[in-house]
């Protein structure tokens, strides 16, 4: 500022520093207490044989050795990865197809968009509850159809592998609207002139799709795939509420196993070590995502 003396300028700098921290502290307080501190504390607790309500004993990396040797841990990791691998392509693809539908200038575009997206605003508890009633043998909605087709009663949620299919369909129905919107934004960023030029050049709609639309959506697709991967890694509610991780432990995911170890079996140290492992995996995917975002 013109005419300000040195001491005045210093006073202003100090004032601004104080103001800045006053604005920050309310948020930072919550951020530190309930996000930053817990993640650090989790890493610390993972080095102890800890349980609620008794003294913890320092065990170094023993918890990590234990989970490394724990077959159930590897199974839950496998289950989680299995879901990531089946769900990511499926949900990304359906999201892309829905975005194409909405972007095709059909009559009733708003209706289509709202229809595909509405289920996304429902809560996981509602969605799983609804689909339990759809899948339930004898009294469920699908039971009427499978009986009409002569397939009889199908125990969707109690049959190995079939349960994954059921959970996959539920998850697609619930969350695909999110991916659709991201694709839709990508599609709307492609200028109409490109399509018009292609049409004048005599390109058919298949050529337009594969030579123009898909290549130009590359960045969006990478982003959607990474977000979907992270989200699939966190799978817990659907498998827990719809199948209880079963039949047996067939759909017990990593988060479910952390929950069981920490809350049911009360082995907090061990569960914390698993959480750290889980965090590292998710972190790697997020870092990849940030790299992609930064390029944009």
């Amino acid at each position: 500022m013109k005419g300000a003396t040195n001491s005045e300028r210093l006073k202003n700098i100090i004032k601004e520093n104080i103001a800045a921290w006053l604005f920050l502290i309310p948020y930072l307080g919550f951020f530190i207490c309930f996000l930053l501190f817990p993640i650090l504390r989790g890493m610390y607790v993972s080095l102890f044989d800890a349980a609620l309500g008794r003294e913890s004993i320092f065990v170094g990396l023993e918890n990590y050795v234990t989970i490394f040797k724990d077959k159930a841990f590897w199974q839950s990791l496998f289950n989680t990865l299995f879901f990531v691998i089946i769900s990511t392509p499926a949900i990304v693809l359906v999201g892309f197809v829905f975005a194409i539908f909405v972007n095709s200038k059909l009559k009733g575009t708003t209706f289509l968009r709202v229809s595909y997206f509405a289920s996304y605003v429902l809560s996981m508890a509602v969605v799983t509850g609804l689909w339990i009633f759809i899948y339930q043998p004898y009294t469920g909605l699908l039971s009427v159809i499978t009986n009409a087709l002569g397939l009889g009663e199908i125990y969707w949620l109690n049959t190995k592998w079939l349960v994954w299919f059921a959970i996959l369909v539920t998850t697609i129905w619930w969350t695909v609207g999110f991916n659709m919107v991201l694709f839709l934004v990508g599609l709307q960023d492609i200028p109409d002139e490109i399509y018009e030029a292609a049409e004048i050049d005599g390109a058919n709609s298949r050529q337009i799709l594969f030579r123009i639309t898909i290549p130009l959506l590359r960045d969006t697709t990478v982003l959607v795939i990474l977000l979907q991967t992270i989200s699939s890694f966190k799978l817990f509610g659907q498998t827990y509420l719809m199948a209880g991780g079963g039949p047996g432990t067939h759909t017990r995911t990593l988060v479910h196993y952390i929950y069981e170890t920490g809350f049911t079996n009360r082995r907090m140290g061990l569960a914390a070590a698993m959480s750290v492992a889980f965090f590292v995996v998710v972190l790697l995917v997020s870092l990849l995502q940030n790299k992609v975002f930064a390029k944009k």
Binding site: F30, V181, S275, L287
Partner: protein, 277 residues
Amino acid sequence: MRKHKKLTLGRVILYIVAYIFAFLWLFPIFWMLVSALKPVGTPVSILSKVFTGTFTFRNFILVGEKAPVWTWSLNSLIVSSAVTFGTIALTSMAAYSLSKLNFKGRGLTQLIITAGMMIPIEAIIIPLYQTMAELNLLNTYSGLVFPSLAAPIGVLIMKRCFDSIPDELIEASVLDGANPFQRWWQVCLPLSKSSMAAVGIFTFKNAWNDFLWPFLSVTSEKMMTLPVGIPQFQGANLSEFVLPMTASVIASVPALIVFLIFQKQIMQGIAMTGIKG
């Protein structure tokens, strides 16, 4: 803008497929809404019986007698509102500081908050539970609200919005003698209504539907929110569809109404931020 195209065979197929999927996507929601209006004991999986016969609103009273659904609704409303208003207030303040004020440690603070984005709640449930237990916050509203207030995404969205406010505007108000608080309240906030709305709508939807943390931290039935109470209620009534469906409708109607009113903003919000609930 391209015009509606001519109706070729390909377009006809596109119409049919697109509308079949729209029907498949809407049908379960529609089924739920209608089932909640049928007398208790109606076999709602037999569709001819769902869409014909008598309809009643009595279930909304009956369900409240069977389980504390209205208490859960009230809890959900209290927690989601507190999280929403808290998030808007806290994040707009923090973002203003990071965007428009110069202070020592700004870069580092910004970096740490951004890094916090990568911490999923699933990775901290154990230590968070321990901390909350020590603070005696399990089974309390504060215990349900506080972890949601720590989420960094709102700060980053608000900061991006404040960054786009030209510094000249702020300098002009400095010359008018505005202090940092006035610059925030009188200059920055009025210019960021749409971002605050986006943050607010998303925060509300996510808080209203939040499952994992309430599920872990609430054991007392009286403190449950709808997403925690409903599965428990349904689990106890698997042979009877109508009342669990009614509870689900109570949990869904506010979210669906918010969605129908704000669907444009919600979709723009996703586009802007890529937040996944």
